[in-house]
Symmetry: C2
Subunit: 372 residues, 2 copies
């Protein structure tokens, strides 16, 4: 193999690959990136056995071929090369080394045989459709904070992406929950996605996917089967196993009969919650909301360290209500709000509370109260 | 006590105090800041028993008095208050709480008795002088990287500040070393500093001092005794114990007979060292310098992972020389260079090497070679 490639293009391709590689792993070749050159393109492939990413980019291929080298080391080297450098990668097959050359810099990196690299098996996908990057970004960005980190509840360690019925017809929906809070985000159903099986997309995949979604209008090709999901741009293909489990019936958790409505400026609310939470100890970060006619008092009482209270002007005209929440959960939910107003729908101090952005029901959040 | 103070002034004063407070300590009152209000000013005092910082600022004092509250919590609260807020601090003496109020935010913080706060004993200082902030900053910024972190060699855990003889007469000098590398930085001797005892300024004090030195032309009042050093601006007084030990005779370590001179662009050199070091494993980060007529080759050979080589055009006209250094030490020293050129003076591959910035001898560095 012998190729020449501009440093910026190489860096972009290797960056995505090295981020999939697990820093600590016992199988040496999983630390490597598989470089394959053919025609006028070179591809960089990395995997952790659950996720595989392939980044294909144009290059001047003088001699086709393939080899594997340390993904992190190659990334570090390319990152440190001067901007605008032309980089050549040469593998003579015999030395067991890959030569990386740019200007007066010469590197010779240990390789492992390309035959040992675990390429993910290709699958039949039940559903193939195309989605706007901005839509996918909204679906995952607004739901991922609620993903559970409890390994025993592995079926909650991802975002449940599926087709659901909504008031306006079928939607593409992402749901995540850890049992304390839940996010349910809807987007218009793309053509051809109607028969997509519901899948749980793992947390790490959600993170890697995010890097493909920066360009609002980019069309992302999505393919889904019962066991795998694939997202592809013209350059990058991200394939991931999905979590082998059943996502619980979340619809039972979403309150439908909550009638006490609070409307509050989302930014003011988040800042006030953040401030009053300062006095509480790390463990029991409970914030009490005391609601009365157009008035909200946020308060925290931490006997050891102190107390805090803050009043906000709000829109509320129902009975007096006192209800407590974990400060972290309230903050995270309030920070999802893109518009001015957050709308909370309460029932009683012991019931789950619903939050949405203004009157928009395409993104709703549920948070469990805690006793205060 | 009852005072009113603008949020920005309060934040600045409390910031400096809370950074001195140790996050983990077993004596509760050491987590607190002592607030003392009298006349038209309020002072914030914090200590870790080795360093004491007092930040005095103007405030509207309605009722004089003093109390102590958690430095970190007060800092967090003030930081989160909106810009421009007027903050009032009220201590009624009876409740054991300090009320912090701003707009519609009310906090009530647990206090500890001001009598229990360990105020550092005042000292007689043998020497008092005034130094420009920019000069002090240069002395400490350029030497602190060489401070040892080995706790057993406690006498190297700081910067040795003393009066020394130089070619041009007496100078104020800072020296730090960890046995592998050494920095020696000189500055003009301020009036009245001639009889200053040499003192070892602890690492943490060097870090805290740095925050007083942002304004180039600020005059810093320095007071030194055998056991303490004090730096003061009109607002902030930083007092620190000095390390009770004898700094070794560093002059023996500084080579005087090195004649082989290498002149190299400091930035190019640092970048090249950084690049070739990429292939080496963390433990033995050795970089080999091979010098020949106006040519420097930097190389690293790490059998497990690979090899790297880079050539630089330099000014050198002496015998061929091969010498190895720890990459981290080379990088740190090269990054001290403010001018274009770094000048290395070598003897043999087994001897300490001297580095300076161009022809300026007011900042010199020594680095021990390693076998490659």
């Amino acid at each position: 193999m012998k190729i020449s490639i501009e440093r910026a293009a190489l860096l972009k391709a290797v960056s995505q690959a090295q981020s999939v590689v697990e820093r600590r792993n016992t199988i040496p070749i999983l630390a490597n990136v598989l470089i394959e050159a053919e025609g006028d393109a070179v591809s960089f492939r990395a995997t952790d056995l659950d996720i595989e990413v392939v980044d294909k980019t144009l290059a001047q291929v003088e001699r086709a071929g393939a080899t594997t080298v340390s993904a992190v080391m190659l990334h570090e080297i390319v990152r440190k090369l001067p901007d605008g450098a032309l980089v050549s990668l040469t593998d003579d097959g015999a030395s067991g080394r890959l030569a990386v050359e740019a200007g007066r810099s010469n590197f010779s990196l240990a390789t492992l045989p390309k035959e040992d690299f675990p390429v993910m098996a290709t699958s039949e996908y039940a559903s193939n459709f195309s989605a706007r990057a901005a839509d996918l970004r909204r679906l995952f960005d607004k739901s991922k904070f609620a993903i559970s980190t409890e390994e025993t509840r592995y079926y909650l360690n991802g975002v449940y992406m599926h087709v659901a019925d909504s008031d306006g017809g079928k939607v593409l929906r992402c749901v995540a929950t850890d049992g304390h809070r839940l996010a349910r985000i809807d987007s218009g159903l793309p053509d051809g996605a109607g028969d997509m099986p519901g899948v749980i997309v793992p947390r790490k995949t959600v993170g890697e996917l995010r890097k493909l979604l920066d360009d609002d209008d980019m069309q992302i090709a999505v393919s889904v089967s019962e066991t795998k999901i694939r997202f592809a741009t013209p350059e990058i293909t991200l394939t991931s196993k999905v979590i082998d489990g059943t996502f619980p019936d979340y619809t039972r958790v979403i309150p439908t009969g909550n009638t006490r409505k609070l409307e509050v400026d989302a930014a003011d609310f988040a800042q006030a919650v953040d401030r009053v939470a300062t006095v509480s100890s790390e463990r029991s970060r409970a914030v009490k909301l005391s609601l009365d006619e157009d008035r909200l008092i946020l308060s925290v009482n931490a006997p050891d360290s102190g107390a805090a209270e803050e009043e906000l002007a709000v829109a509320y005209n129902d009975e007096r209500l006192e209800i407590g929440f974990n400060a972290k959960y309230l903050l995270e939910i309030a920070s999802q709000v893109d518009r001015e107003n957050a709308v909370f729908m309460f029932n009683s101090s012991g019931d789950p509370t619903l939050m949405r952005e203004g009157n928009d029901t395409s993104a709703i959040y549920v948070v469990m109260p805690m006793r205060v």
